[in-house]
Amino acid sequence: MNKQLAWGVGLVALVALPFVYRDPYHLHILVLILIWSFAYTSWSMMGRFGLVSLGHGGFMGVGAYVTALLWNHLGVSPWIGIPAAMLCAGALALVVAYPCFRFRITGHYFALVTLALSGIVLQIIIATRDYTGGSLGYTPERTKGSHILALQFDDKVVWYLIALGVWAGGLAVWYWIDRSMSRYAMEAISEDEDAAAAAGVNVTAEKLRITVISAVMTAMAGALYGQYQMFIAPDTVSGIAVSLQMVFAAVVGGIYVALGPTIGAIITIMLAEVLRIGFGTKAVGWDNLVYGVLLVVFIIFLPKGILGSLLDLLKSSGKRKNR
């Protein structure tokens, strides 16, 4: 009960925050953290079961570009565009993941096949530069009519609340999976596929379900990011660099606990901002240098991430007290 109370109080405090404190810069950072947390959480849903995908940059790119292209070229409202983009990403995930799982492509091979996927999405965005603007990036057109219909708001508070809602939704999905039979099936699969199959787990179906959920949520994060920033470029929402960025933020925070990816997003975004403010233009490259070193150090010494290791520490000290 205490845990639920703590969650409730935390959520209420987060909802109340913009009404008390509305510095636009800090709100902007918070919105970015929430959107990226949502993306990282989506990635971890697969990552925690040993399905390391380097293709999530591709799903994010699909989310962002399909939404923006539908709006600019066909005038379809993002309210329809975002679900459409999510459908596209889900279909893409199915097309790539089904044969992968069917033919038992796992581990290194899976990571590299998905790497090809994010490469394809990036190259297609660049190759169709007549529609997508190529490497120069793409801007959804400013609406002349209703802001709500176009999902374009100038007020950061609105965006903060939207991002908060989506982020909380992401955590809810995490808990839903955490408490479902799928979780046990997936854990069994990540330990030993053959044994899991022998125990009556439909390996392909379970893996597919989690992959599609993860891909669809990542596409939603991409679409939201595009709507919020009003500018998307292949390098910032798609491609291998984005995929790797997702992986390392999630790993640094901890992929086995619900709030781990969020912690990862807070750390990486704050780090980038602090370095940017501290060093100005001289900081170009430094943030990634620190990220990279952190990632290597974390994987060697703290593979469970910051939050995961902290929780373990609390648990073991708690046990000692009880004894």
């Binding site: 044969p99 590299l112 994987i299």
Partner: protein, 289 residues
């Protein structure tokens, strides 16, 4: 129709020339994977560092190319050994995916190190090699040289692997890593030698690529993913498969680029890769089980 055929032939030959360098890159990565069972996601970034090494040795310190190249190969070989010693060896017992991610971290480190140390300007050696005209086709000497040197490098590695004691030990470890320790082979040493060899191949590739392309911190992203795909297509750790796959890929990119933009060549190559993964998941030359 006549002109069209000439262009087609030129694209075909250029594809073969590109394939030579790609095969060299794939060989280094395959070696590491086959022996140590680790994928260096940062492999192309080692090449990038090697290209910067060439740039500095040649253009800043004014060493002749033939002196700079061996130095550069040694530098990247040392880097490969250091990578193994610092990052991979503490993780040898960890799940393979952790090793993959750790080298992903190294990718970020090398990329941003290059950004911080060398800036984001495009640099080149400023060597303009002449163009060879054969009938109405044009080939750059840089590509021919790269192709020749890549072939020589691959033959040298083949001889090393089959004719020396260390090479034999490396191949033996690739077959069974537990038993070899019992046979009196120091696996740690062999791993280190293999990493240095893999690094050296990256260095050789860097010396050749720097003749054709400008170097910048993100140059690794333009051929790194292709290299992984070639290795997987050929079957990770399968040297012959990697060799065949490199030429297949190079032809697809080259011919795709002929009929449309270069990006569509890449898209085709990637799509070909994904389709092939479903037809032959264990690699082009794998025996059907």
């Amino acid at each position: 129709m006549e002109i069209f055929d000439i262009y087609l032939l030129e694209a075909l030959v250029n594809g073969i020339l590109l394939g030579g360098v790609l095969a060299l890159l794939a060989l280094g990565l395959n070696l590491i994977f086959g022996v140590i069972d680790v994928t260096w996601i940062c492999y192309a970034e080692l090449v990038m560092i090697g290209m910067y090494g060439m740039y500095y040795l040649f253009s800043v310190y004014h060493l002749p190319y033939w002196v700079a190249a061996p130095l550069c190969i040694l530098l990247v070989a040392a880097l490969g050994a250091a990578l193994h010693f610092l990052v991979i060896s503490p993780l040898l017992g960890a799940p393979p995916i952790n090793q993959l991610l750790a080298t992903g971290g190294v990718l970020f480190v090398l990329q941003s190190f290059a950004t911080v140390a060398f800036g984001i300007d495009f640099r080149n050696l400023g060597i303009r090699l002449p163009v060879l005209a054969l009938g109405e086709m044009h080939f750059s000497y840089a590509r021919l040289l790269a192709f020749g040197a890549a072939l020589i490098g691959m033959v040298a590695v083949y001889l090393f692997m089959t004719r020396t004691y260390t090479g034999t030990a490396i191949r033996a470890i690739a077959q069974d890593r537990q038993i070899m320790a019992l046979m009196g082979v120091d696996t740690k040493k062999i791993y280190l030698v293999t990493s240095a060899l893999g690094g050296g191949l990256a260095g050789l590739a860097a010396c050749l690529l720097v003749l054709q392309y400008d170097v910048h911190p993100f140059v690794g992203l333009s051929f790194g993913p292709i290299t992984f795909l070639i290795c997987v297509l050929g079957g990770l750790g399968n040297f012959v498969g990697g060799f065949v796959a490199a030429f297949l890929f190079a032809e697809i990119i080259s011919l795709g680029g002929l009929f449309s933009d270069l990006e569509w060549g890449y898209v085709l190559a990637f799509a070909f890769f994904i389709v092939m993964m479903f037809i032959r998941p264990a690699g082009l030359l794998a025996k059907r089980s």
